[in-house]
């Protein structure tokens, strides 16, 4: 629909001085085909609509005003957009700059950290004990799980430049490690350890996932780009299918009911009136609130551990080797870097963090099933990494907040009913709006929210490297 859309609005040259009347005429001429195309599109899907009436007959519902409104809206939108290019514009860049780190905003991580630590109490104070569960659990914990997953995948995709479409497999390995050991193994062998199940399983889940990372790494060492992506995708599906079909171990599609997390051995709820965290410490509120807040701080600690280890590794030879691998694998080999080991450590570290997040997921959910580990999860995590700017921890965290928080916020679209009428179901448009938002963000910042790269070592003065120089890896 870009008839006459000669890109004058994006041109770096100032628009030629034309009279406002001339500009308006040109804009109207340009906007007309847009309106006509809209009309054509609206005709079958908006103007004519079939509905069942009370006696189950199909009746035709013609909606001329809605159609006309949409056509007018598109026409006016295009018209004003073109006209705006002729108005005198301020010198400032059209879009706000988001390179926080590049602009010397070193305070950002600290303010962010403080906000993260205070978040549960802020929501308690603002929403009350019953309202706080939604904010702490649905938003806080959910987002932090994805922050951690994003940071884990960031090592493989963002630093080492290896495109992994099956990352959810390691998440699943971690969750099932917890589910199987905590539900079956510990009660059968050492039931006294029962309350500690999560803390025992957490390192085991990480190690097992790392092992699977290496197992995946070996066959894909020689693959690059699209081929690597396809094989990792297949790996994710294989793990999921094994979980569905190995019923004896995993209970198949019905999943496993797992024990809930305890406060270092002390339960949050006790069916027979035993000591709980709430009764021992005399806390106000329900056990669910206590558990949500505890879960929040556990996942926050895990995520910060991932961030700290990643930051440290970036300054070690292994981390620099990951980034060098992303930049140029052949040059790496010419300098004596063992690229096999480099790739395997990247896969193992990424998988380790995915496994830790998985064990947490199992303990938080109280139930694991193959349904939670579908390809869409891998795609969401990858979208977070790409949207955040590959390699940037702050960027990935912001992207996780935007993506996961955005999807959750879009559940609350009831206000749209006041515009589109009572029979409008905003839930149906949730993913559509979200997808559109992603497209807009990627047009606005094609290399992610934080595209600049921070050097791992500085001689004179540290400055970020423009994203344009940084390679994306070849898989």
């Amino acid at each position: 629909m870009s008839a006459g859309g000669n890109g004058s609005t994006r041109s770096t040259l100032p628009p030629e001085p034309v009279s406002m009347r001339e500009a308006a005429r040109k804009a109207a001429r340009d906007a007309l085909p847009w309106a006509l195309v809209t009309l054509g599109l609206c005709f079958p899907i908006i103007l004519l609509r079939t509905e069942q009436d009370l006696s189950n007959r199909i009746v035709l519902n013609v909606r001329p005003f809605l159609t006309l409104g949409l056509v007018l809206a598109v026409f006016l939108g295009r018209f004003l957009w073109l006209l705006a290019a002729h108005l005198p514009r301020p010198k400032a860049p059209a879009f706000p700059r988001l390179d926080l780190a590049a602009n010397g905003a070193r305070w950002f991580p600290y303010v962010g950290l403080a906000a993260l630590f205070l978040f549960p109490f802020l929501s308690l104070a603002l929403a009350g004990p019953s309202g706080a569960i939604k904010w702490v659990d649905n938003f806080g914990v959910q987002i932090l799980i994805y922050v951690m997953l994003g940071w884990g995948l960031n090592i493989v995709v963002g630093l080492a430049g290896l495109l992994d479409l099956g990352y959810v497999a390691f998440y699943a390995v971690g969750a099932y490690t917890y589910a199987i050991i905590a539900t079956y193994v510990i009660p059968a062998t050492l039931p006294v350890l029962g309350p500690w199940a999560f803390w025992i399983c957490l390192p085991l889940a990480g190690l097992l996932a790392a092992l699977w990372g290496v197992i995946l790494g070996f066959p894909v060492l020689r693959l690059r780009g699209d081929y690597l992506a396809i094989v990792t995708l297949a790996f994710g599906e294989i793990i999921r299918l094994v979980l569905i079909n190995w019923v004896a171990l995993t209970n198949g599609p019905s999943g496993i009911q797992t024990p809930r997390i305890t406060f270092f051995g002390l339960p949050f709820t006790s069916p027979n009136g035993g000591t709980t965290v709430g009764s021992l410490l005399g806390l106000p509120g329900t056990p669910t609130v206590h558990r949500s807040i505890f879960l929040y701080y556990v996942i926050l600690a895990l995520a910060l551990l991932v961030a700290a280890v990643t930051q440290r590794m970036r300054r070690l030879p292994v981390g620099r080797a990951w980034e060098a691998l992303r930049e140029d694998e052949i040059a790496c080999r010419s300098l004596g870097l063992n690229t096999v080991n480099t790739k395997l450590t990247a896969f193992a570290m990424g998988a380790l963090f995915g496994g830790l997040a998985g064990a947490f997921f199992g303990a938080r959910q109280g139930f694991v099933s193959p349904k939670s580990f579908e390809f869409l999860e891998s795609a969401t995590i990858l979208a977070i990494v790409v949207l955040g700017g590959m390699g940037s921890l702050v960027g990935v965290a912001i992207a996780a907040i935007v993506v996961i928080g955005g999807i959750e916020l879009l559940r609350e679209l009831d206000w749209m009913k006041s515009i589109f009428g009572e029979d409008f179901d905003p839930g149906q448009y949730r993913m559509l709006i979200f997808g559109l938002a992603m497209v807009v963000v990627m047009i606005w910042r094609p290399r992610g929210l934080m595209s600049a790269r921070q050097p791992s070592i500085v001689l004179h003065d540290g400055k970020a490297i423009a994203g344009a120089h940084v390679k994306e890896g070849h898989g």
Partner: protein, 306 residues
Amino acid sequence: MRWLSDPLLVVEGLTMRFGGLVAVRDLSFSVGRGDITALIGPNGAGKTTVFNCITGFYKPTSGLMALSTDGAVDPDAVAALTASSRRYALREDAPDADGLFLLERMPDFEIAQKAHVARTFQNIRLFPGMTVLENLIVAQHNRLMRASGWSLLGLVGAASYRDAEREAVERACFWLDRIGLLARADDAAGSLPYGDQRRLEIARAMCTGPVLLCLDEPAAGLNPKETAALNGLLRAIRDEHATSILLIEHDMSVVMEISDHVIVIEYGLRISDGTPDSVSNDPKVVAAYLGVEDDEVAIAEAEAGL
């Protein structure tokens, strides 16, 4: 004539076949320790293929490539090592030990890591999104990896790793100073002008501490002033750093001015080998580069009955 008396690298019967195409055919030559050796020839002669074989990026179809960091290549030792199934024989059990290496058996990264052969590329291969300094630190990966206890010591912030990293930065600064890029240490390597990128790639290769430095057309795209500076740099590397140089070059002013030894190949075959003077007067070389006189063609055609 050090390539005969004290050879660092001996190549014998090197053949590289790509399907039906024979890029290098039964090529033999030696590289002298402390020499600048030039490998020249017309386009498509197989020079870069020879480089890729020596540095392990291609596995040669057949042939022997023996490199000794421990005195001249000894034919008896090479024969003994070839008969064994080993890839190399070190004098002592240490990571950077001297020894005898059979390059045709070693993977590319091991040739750089153990045999200390470094190389540059015809189309520059820096890490463009990393800083100039980071490029030189990555080149010292193996030394730093050992100092960081394969990351475990480094992860807990051990002093031994911090010392090793400081040493690595000092070595990087030495080379940055040498190529005049110290002021740009924190800039992205991809943001440097072309000539600086060429010099940085050489500095990066030198940071691996090589005994043999293979340069694929280091003067390509440089202006005369930069070329003169390059000549000075290469001479300094040879004279001050116990590093021998093997280079591919089309710029004859570079080849004739700084080389100690010139090998000419055409269609994968060696057509001349000797000092720059002897090679430049070799009629076969003149014919390969300039072609032959018309009357010589007429004589050849008459002989062929055309």
